[in-house]
Symmetry: C2
Subunit: 249 residues, 2 copies
């Protein structure tokens, strides 16, 4: 059985810990947290430590902290010659301290603490320096998820930019739609089916082929009416810019 | 049993016809199409006509044509004093010819001909001049869908603008994400789970509370890195504008 240390207690760490605990071939050895009180919901009491220098060597160490802290944390690990990975979408593998073998274990999903996630559907993007370390990460990843990918640091960078467009920015468009509905006394739930169907379509059609609406039809009458309707200048500018971009696809 | 005439053979008409045919209390009487050959897949041969003047009176007439043609088509209907509705999200009810009672039967969904839709989940937005006509439309709508709403022309206008943001514009962000992946040899399917989860979240959380990503965290380092990464000027501008908008929420 391989041992795993986790450093961190944010949303990603929380979901990883819960899942590692359920795997037969891996043993959660220690978890480094900033505050035992705050982490009490996620981490078994007897595994928690707050002082990283108390960490005992493990087969795999997962650093799941804010991007800015990854380097310092990897420097502070009190052992060497084992596999140490981070879980960040934006941070290069190279930033990790060279006293241990480097790797990345990036779960590409939007995590909220109170929202249950079926980890089997979470794509895990792996990167290592050696083939042997990749094997170790793959065994772990394949026990946790049906979707395991080898992704280089360069690819991961593009994937993260992409993810901002298709998730963070998409959610902001939901915010705008919600606001327009609220201002006009229309329940936002009227739009729920449309939102689900728009997302479901892309698993069957390339998004380019799924495009509908006034912009792709070059329906200037509707476009003008919509722009006149919008009173928020920022939303009007977003409307104009995306409409132009759709027309030029 | 109530009789229904349908005018049109586009995506919405296609889905309506298929569904009306399956209802026990309604009978599809005639369908006006532009070309019998093109409509052959959607419409039973014996019900098709191409000349609107051959249309016989029905309890309900559904005009499902492009927005610009609705007025002319409603003028050309060769009978009066029955209920005539259109299916448009952008067109006012008032545009219909006054020789018949006016109404709107707007299915708020993104339809593609080759994509099966479970009509039970399609929100139907109804509007009529009289309570009595509303009853007729409601009976039909409730047999087709679990989601029936009374929506005024004013509300419908705001709903349609909202729908452009949460569906058409969202799909364009999928197009951009897809392109970035393709340029960097990353399979777009890595992002499918994230896209589905982002859409699923809004049924449980207000979108404002679901916002994640570098913009809401004011993570300027990542924002700058992403903007430097983008080479397409339009996409870079979309990135900047939506990031600013998220920061100001």
């Amino acid at each position: 059985m391989k041992t795993i240390n986790v450093i961190g207690s944010g949303n990603v760490a929380h979901h990883l810990i819960k899942n590692i605990n359920a795997l037969p071939d891996f043993k959660l050895q220690q978890v480094v947290v900033r505050s035992k009180e705050k982490a009490a919901d996620s981490v078994p009491e007897n595994l928690m430590i707050t002082d990283i220098s108390q960490l005992k060597p493990a087969d795999l160490t997962i650093i799941s902290v804010t991007d800015d802290a990854i380097k310092l944390i990897s420097d502070a690990i009190p052992y060497q010659n084992s596999l140490v990975v981070h879980t960040s979408g934006t941070t290069s593998m190279a930033i990790l301290n060279s006293k241990n073998q480097k790797g990345v274990f990036y779960p590409l999903q939007t995590f909220s603490k109170n929202r249950m996630i079926d980890f089997k559907n979470v794509p895990l993007c792996l990167e290592t320096e050696s083939e042997n370390d990749l094997k170790i990460l793959k065994v772990l990843a394949q026990q946790m998820s049906d979707k395991v990918y080898e992704i280089s640091s360069e690819q991961r960078k593009s994937l993260h930019v992409s993810a901002v467009f298709v998730s963070n920015f998409v959610n902001h468009l939901y915010v705008i739609g919600n606001e327009i509905c609220a201002e006009n006394n229309v329940p936002f739930e009227v739009l729920h089916s449309l939102i689900q169907e728009t997302a479901a379509k892309i698993t069957l059609l390339p998004p380019r082929d799924a495009q509908t609406g006034p912009a792709i039809r070059h329906d200037e009458k509707t476009i003008t009416a919509h722009q006149d309707f919008l009173t928020n200048e920022t939303y009007k500018n977003i409307y104009k810019l995306i409409t132009e971009s759709i027309k030029n696809v």
